[in-house]
Every structure is written in structure tokens, then in C-alpha cells.
Symmetry: C2
Subunit: 347 residues, 2 copies
């Protein structure tokens, strides 16, 4: 049992071997799982090598979970809903992993504190595992870490993975591209009270859920459901295999969770029947590959001293219209080409 | 006058100098403009160099147009609306350039034939210039050509640029990122008749226009307007400086064009007042720079023989889950690094 708040110390204990890690994770050992995740999140080259070897070894045992992304503006009740939905799933025999992608934690340099406090009921469950957002690095790196953590959790037997994202920046797109189902939470309201949705959310949403539908909110939640449903109907892409709908839930009263989860299962069944689940996941993996390549190429170019020397001037000239974007690109690429030819280490 | 269907032959006439091009374009000479656009669309290195020099020289004379992107599914009446809107603008003293980004022309290898036939009334106007979609190269290249053609048209005195895109693939995103205002056309209808919108369109739309609102369509157009307006209201991002609305137009009866254009002008005024027009265009230019850099880096990597040899196997292994996306990326990058160190020409 390692329901401790801090990740396991890295030096104190003898380092497990690749086989130890694989065996421990397959046995559902939470301490080993936590330690493997710290490998995935480490920037040390030897940790990375071990992490990738482990992921390769465990690959045949991954993919078994329903992967759900959950997003929404601050205050919409994400943690409370995840707490309730997680408990609902645990009670039905699922093993639930909760991960997070929080770009604000990148800025503050610290991961979300108190994830387990925010999801107090779920954190106490044997069959739930809550892991805060990785804090270090760039968003692309965090996406990789979260994706790989999800795979480790699947190998450890978790069959439902909920990935929370705070609905800011590019994190939703990244999370949507690693899950099977993307759920967007909104507050109850009607007419001018409706809070609207952040740009891009409609495109990602497989479902909208109106939260806090309890007590005096019930009528407003129902009105919100009708308005969002009408909007989604108007905007629904023709011939799409799945039409996003609107659920109404109360984490406080545990209502609506059953209908919500049944919709998620129906979506999965539909994808499965049409062979789309496997296809989607394959395409996601290949996109992740290209996203890593793209990130690496761009960050190498940006890191080249000649490019760094040139860049501020070039961007100013382009913004001011003194230099065409194409010529500017050629100059940056030329500066990059002239970099020293010494072999460099792959990051 | 060069209202001919074919671009001017490239060899037959003596090549104008940079100064000739600049002078001819500034004088509004359509033959010179057409010839300059063929430079922009040419893949020959000397043409490209001349085109970039010309764009640099003309830069102080660009930026004067209202730039409008217009999209919608096939059959929605894009050409007919552009014909009518163009005529409306010409009659109000505007000089109108109509450009197109048609990714289907990339596949067929030919540009849209008959653009001038589809916009017969506008094509006959002295103060209108219709240029079909560039046909060669990749979408990123077409985006660059269209962007640069727009700048040449501005330097030639065109103060309204309408860029048509066929509503397929990634072309809308590219067009939306080179214009001030993005208009999405939909057919009249109501309830289950509504055709819905392609994913991504809502995020891009500064306005939706219901087309063909004439004759027996009027009631259905009005119903569609109400439904789209309600949907946009529900989905409107809070605190946005511009709330997309719905216009109703008939190109056949020339109705609604005035209200549509006034909305576009209001949007521009609003952006101007807040200093957002200049900001947006600067940001667009810098994004164009990075998009060129990104395209070039990725296409170089993809073109490297060692990468090409490895790529099919790697993508298959990633799709099958035998190789992690991160390891796959490292392998491709390593193969790329091992490429011959001979200096290569900047594309």
C-alpha cells in the first residue's frame, strides 16, 4: 500500500529492474506503478530509456480501458463529478485511474496539490488511483507523460481512465487526442445566463454534461439541457456516426451518472462495432509520433544559437511587414543549416 | 486588358524587371498583376526570388483591403453569393479581388475551371479580378500562394478581397488565418432539415449566412436563421469582443447583401477601434512564418532517404502498438541526423 501523498523517493530504495517493474505493474502493485510513472515523468536519459523499454514490454497489456477526457471551466465541478463518477464505477466493479493535464501547473511549476483532497471519497477506494498532473516541461511533454501514464495504468489493470483537464490553452485538444470520449461540463442556466463554451470545445465534445443539477438548480439545469441540445442539433455534422448529446448530472445527489456512463458505453460499443475504436487509437498513436517529431524539430531549431540571435529581429520584421513570412522562414532555416555540424544528442 | 482565361505565357514576352512589376501593379495593370501571381505560384527558384523581392518592395502598399473568407458545403451557393456580393461592392466603388483555395484542385491537378463562368456578372466588371485556386503543390504551399496573391491584389488597389474555400479538409483553417472575417454559408431549412455544420466551422465563423432566401425558401430561411442564432447564442464564448450572428441573403434577388456587408464593416471598425485588426494581422504573419518553418522542417525529414526507408515500418509498428510513439520519434530523428552532411539547398 502506498497511498502516500508524495511520489516514492528515487534514490533511497534499490532501483527495480525492467522485469521487476513489469511484474509489479501487471500484479497491480501501486507502489511499483507510482514509481514507474515517475520514470515516465523524469527527464533523465536512463530513466527515459527504462520507461520506454517498460512501455514496450507492457504494450500487449494496454488498451483495455475506456478512456474518457473531462473538461470544463473552473468552478464547473470537475473534481466533484470525477469523484462521484469514479465511485459509481468502482461500485460497479471497475478499477478507476484519474489523471490530470493542467497547463497552469506548468506555469506555477507545481502539480495540482490536493487532487486526492478534492476527490476525497474516491481517494479512499482500493480500486481507484489518482495521479496529479505532471508539472515539468512543455505541454507536448506533459501530453506524452499523461499518455504513457495512462498505458501504465491500463497494464496495471485499470479499466476506466478519466483524464481531467482544466479547459485552458491547448490542453483539451491534446487530451481529446488521447481518449475515446471527450466530455465537456457546463453549469446550469438558461437564456442569457448560459455561460457559453470556450472556442474549440464544441468540436471536441462527444457529450456535454450540465453539472450541479440538484436542489433549486434542477429547473435551470433542465433549461440548459434543452438549449444545449438544440444547439448541438443545429450544429451536428451531417452523417456523423455519433451525435453529441446533453446529460444532466448531480454529483451531490449521485443522479444522472448512470445515464452518462451508459452513453459513454454506447459510444464505445458503436465505435467497436464499426471497427472505429481500434482505428481511432492507431491514428492517435501515429499522430503522437508526429507530434513528438514536430516538437523536437522545432525546439532544436529554436535552440540553435544562430537562430536565437536572429529570431527576435526576424519576428519583429515579419510583424511589421518589412519581411515576408516566407523569406523570414528561409532565413531562419538557413541560419539553422549553418549550425555547427557536431553530432548532437537526441533529446 | 488581359481578361483572357489563360495566364500570360511565360517565355514569349520579355521578362519584366522587379521595377516593372512593382510599377505595373501599383498602376493597377491587370496583365502585370496576373504575371506577378504566376511568379508567386511558380516553383522555379528564380521566380520565387523575384516574387519575394516584389512582395518586399510592395509591402508598404498592402493591407488596405477588407479580407473576407467565404466557405460552405458544395451546393450552398458560394459562387453565386460571391458574384452578387462582388457586384454590390463594385457598385459602391470598391475594387474587388476574388481568390480561391480549393484543395480538391490539388488532387485533380487542375485549378477550378470556369471560375469566371460561375461568376459571370462579376467577371465582366472592370473593377473586379477573379483568380482561380492555385493547383500545384501541397496545401501549405497553396496557402502561401493565396496569401501572397492577396497582398499583390492589395498593392494593385483592390480594397476588398474575397477568398472562397470549398469547405473541405484543412483549407478553411488556413483561409481563416489569412482574413479579417470568416463567413460560413448554409442552406435554408428548419428542424431536422438543417444540414448541420462541418466540424471546426463554428470556431472559425464570424458570421453564418443563410443563402437562397428567396421565393418559397423565405420562411425556411427565417426559421434557419432563428435556429442558428439560438445555437450561436448558447455556444458564444463569454467575454468575446465579437458575437457571431446570422445573416439571411438571396443572391438571386440581391437581398440581405447590404446588411451582411454592414456587419462585416462593423466587425472591422470594432477590431480597428480596439487595435485588434493590426494585432491580428501581425499575429497571422508570424504564424505564417512558423507554418513555413514547420512545413519545411517536416518535409525535409520526410524526404531524407534513411527516413523514407524506415517510415512505413515505423508507422506500422506504432499503429500496432509494438513501438511507443516516443521511441518511434527518436528513431526517425536519429535516422534524419545520420543523413549526409553535404550542404543542401533551401527549398
Amino acid at each position: 500500500m502506498s497511498r502516500t501523498r508524495k511520489p516514492a523517493p528515487k534514490i533511497a530504495r534499490p532501483a527495480p529492474s525492467l522485469a521487476d517493474y513489469a511484474k509489479g505493474i501487471r500484479a497491480g502493485n501501486r507502489a511499483v506503478l507510482a514509481r514507474a510513472i515517475t520514470l515516465v515523468e523524469s527527464s533523465r536519459a536512463d530513466h527515459q530509456a527504462l520507461a520506454q523499454a517498460l512501455l514496450t514490454k507492457l504494450a500487449p497489456h494496454t488498451g483495455g480501458a475506456i478512456r474518457v477526457g473531462i473538461s470544463g471551466a473552473p468552478g464547473v465541478g470537475k473534481s466533484t463529478l470525477i469523484d462521484a463518477l469514479g465511485l459509481y464505477l468502482v461500485k460497479r466493479g471497475h478499477k478507476v485511474a484519474v489523471l490530470a493535464v493542467d497547463p497552469t501547473s506548468l506555469r506555477s511549476g507545481g502539480s495540482i496539490l490536493g487532487d486526492k483532497t478534492r476527490m476525497a471519497r474516491l481517494a479512499a477506494e482500493e480500486n481507484a488511483y489518482i495521479r496529479p498532473s505532471p508539472a515539468a516541461g512543455k505541454l507536448g511533454g506533459v501530453a506524452r507523460m499523461t499518455r504513457e501514464t495512462m498505458l501504465l495504468c491500463e497494464a496495471a489493470g485499470f479499466d476506466a481512465v478519466l483524464i481531467e483537464t482544466v479547459g485552458a490553452g491547448q490542453s483539451e485538444t491534446l487530451v481529446a487526442d488521447m481518449v475515446d470520449f471527450f466530455l465537456v461540463l457546463v453549469l446550469p442556466g438558461a437564456g442569457d445566463e448560459l455561460q457559453g463554451l470556450k472556442k474549440g470545445m464544441i468540436e471536441l465534445a462527444d457529450m456535454i454534461a450540465v453539472t450541479k443539477a440538484d436542489g433549486e438548480n434542477i429547473a435551470r439545469a433542465s433549461a440548459a439541457r434543452a438549449e444545449y441540445a438544440a444547439a448541438l442539433h443545429v450544429l451536428a455534422e451531417p452523417h456523423a456516426h455519433w451525435k453529441p448529446g446533453v446529460a444532466v448530472v448531480s454529483a451531490k445527489e449521485d443522479t444522472g451518472l448512470d445515464a452518462l456512463w451508459k452513453a459513454i458505453e454506447r459510444h464505445r460499443m458503436l465505435l467497436n462495432e464499426r471497427g472505429l475504436l481500434a482505428e481511432t487509437r492507431k491514428a492517435q498513436s501515429v499522430r503522437a509520433l508526429w507530434s513528438h517529431v514536430d516538437d523536437a524539430l522545432l525546439s532544436r531549431l529554436r535552440a540553435a544559437p544562430r537562430v536565437q540571435a536572429l529570431l527576435p529581429k526576424i519576428e519583429r520584421a515579419v510583424a511589421a511587414g518589412r519581411l515576408t513570412p516566407f523569406l523570414a522562414a528561409v532565413r531562419l532555416l538557413t541560419a539553422y543549416e549553418q549550425r555547427s555540424a557536431r553530432p548532437r544528442k537526441i533529446k
